[in-house]
């Protein structure tokens, strides 16, 4: 791999993203990977190796890929990392970067959109609403929708999920 393809800045970019500081603590011991439910199922997902590739700056092999999305954020690694290296936390940092480059799974995108429109990531279907009524469970319509939307306007969630130059997800 050539320098041109190695992204020197990736490690500090991640380190300076909220929840990304842990990348600097990693000593590559592998406790995270052997504790990870997904890593046990597929060789494809390897939190430790993901950290290593970020440290070295293999941007094109990490950011546009599924890999960061394979993390369940079950936080087992968080509790077992001897360095308090926050692998599970760093994953959020990486995903935040990935989204900015257009790498966001359809399911997640849908939830984000729904959030912007309704203030909820999941919404009841008609029948459920009827059932609620019949049980006298009362309304769940979101009074504060306008507030939610103005918050999301301020955090520019819409821009985040539809970046100009969209990187193809491999």
């Amino acid at each position: 791999m050539k320098l041109s393809e190695l992204d020197l800045g990736l490690m500090s970019e991640v380190a300076n993203t909220p929840r990304g500081k842990g990348i600097l603590l990693c000593i590559q011991c592998g406790r995270c990977t052997s504790s990870c439910p997904v890593a046990r199922i597929t060789k494809e997902h390897n939190p430790r190796r993901l950290m290593e590739m970020i440290i070295l700056g293999f941007r094109s092999e990490v950011i546009p890929h599924q890999l960061p999305w394979y993390c369940l954020s079950c936080f087992t690694c968080l509790d077992r990392c001897p360095q308090g290296g926050d692998v599970g936390e760093v994953m959020f940092a990486i995903r935040n970067l990935a989204v900015k480059e257009g790498n966001v799974p359809a399911g997640v995108l849908a939830q984000a959109k729904s959030l912007m429109e309704t203030g909820r990531v999941i919404n009841p279907i008609r029948s459920a609403l009827d059932k609620r009524e019949s049980l006298g469970l009362g309304e769940i319509a979101l009074g504060g929708l306008d507030e939610v939307q103005s918050i999301l306007k301020k955090t520019k969630l819409d821009k985040v999920i539809s970046p100009k130059e969209t990187v193809k997800r491999k």
């Binding site: 993203t17 909220p18 929840r19 439910p37 997904v38 046990r40 199922i41 597929t42 599924q66 999305w69 394979y70 369940l72 954020s73 079950c74 936080f75 087992t76 968080l78 509790d79 599970g88 959020f92 995903r95 935040n96 989204v99 966001v104 799974p105 359809a106 399911g107 997640v108 849908a110 939830q111 984000a112 959030l115 203030g119 909820r120 990531v121 999941i122 919404n123 009841p124 279907i125 459920a128 059932k131 609620r132 049980l135 469970l137 009362g138 769940i140 979101l142 009074g143 504060g144 929708l145 507030e147 939610v148 103005s150 918050i151 999301l152 301020k154 955090t155 969630l157 985040v160 999920i161």
Partner: protein, 292 residues
Amino acid sequence: MKYAFFVGCLIPARELSYEVSVRKVLPALGIELVDMKDANCCAPFSIQSVDHASWMALAARNLCIAEEMGLDVLTLCNDCYESLLMVNTLLKNNKALKNKVNEILADVGKEFKGKSDVKHLIDVLYDDVGMKTIKNAITEPFTELKVGTQPGCHLTKPKRIHFEVLRGFRALDELIAATGAETIPYERKEMCCGGPLRDINDELARQVAREKLISLKNAEVQGIVTVCPFCYLQLDTGQLEVKRHFNEEYNLPVLHFIELLKMAMGMKLEDWEVKSHRIPLGDIVKGRIQEE
């Protein structure tokens, strides 16, 4: 005792029996639930993954509502619990972050002060109601019912936002014991249900669920008890998907803990509640169903 009741998105949309049972059981145990009227989504895993600021701000907004009500938050869902508890802890301990978030909230006339706490249903039952009261409330305890629990990840993890490791596990086990049922330990008890991977990589989500189901099957349990709507969804509906893809029979009925407690307290399940479970509850609910 009063709580700001945070019901979340998934439960009212898909798992009404959970909500109904909570609304029935907790008042019976002396807990008053006050709905958080204008609460928004807790901003779960998916939103956290998309944008940090949005997550913080939305979670904080919910916390502000609870503060305005002057109450602590009661959540039924591990995801809501993790999101709200994490943000609450972070903002309470990080002034700079708090100011940033409050800047965003200022536009909607809200300010995070850090006056409320966030509690999971299990915390409330175990700490506030207390085992004594619960034991006294049990009128029709289960006998010879062996269950495996799915405490879920965020009831206890990450350690740093929970005062005691595996405390949630112990609490849940004791609570189940109070209902007369027996919790059987199994190898993959601490493992995630795989829920978060639904809609991202269903294949993987199923395989994680499968590992858990196999481990439960090996422990020869009669059913699974959950405390999180996502775990429930993943192990109940998910169980059918696993069955279909690997064509393996498990037939492990899945119950919300609150349903278990409800029945042990002598309240019957209604027919629609029983039917809302994709895996038939079978003998577990024998004689505990409301006649029409």
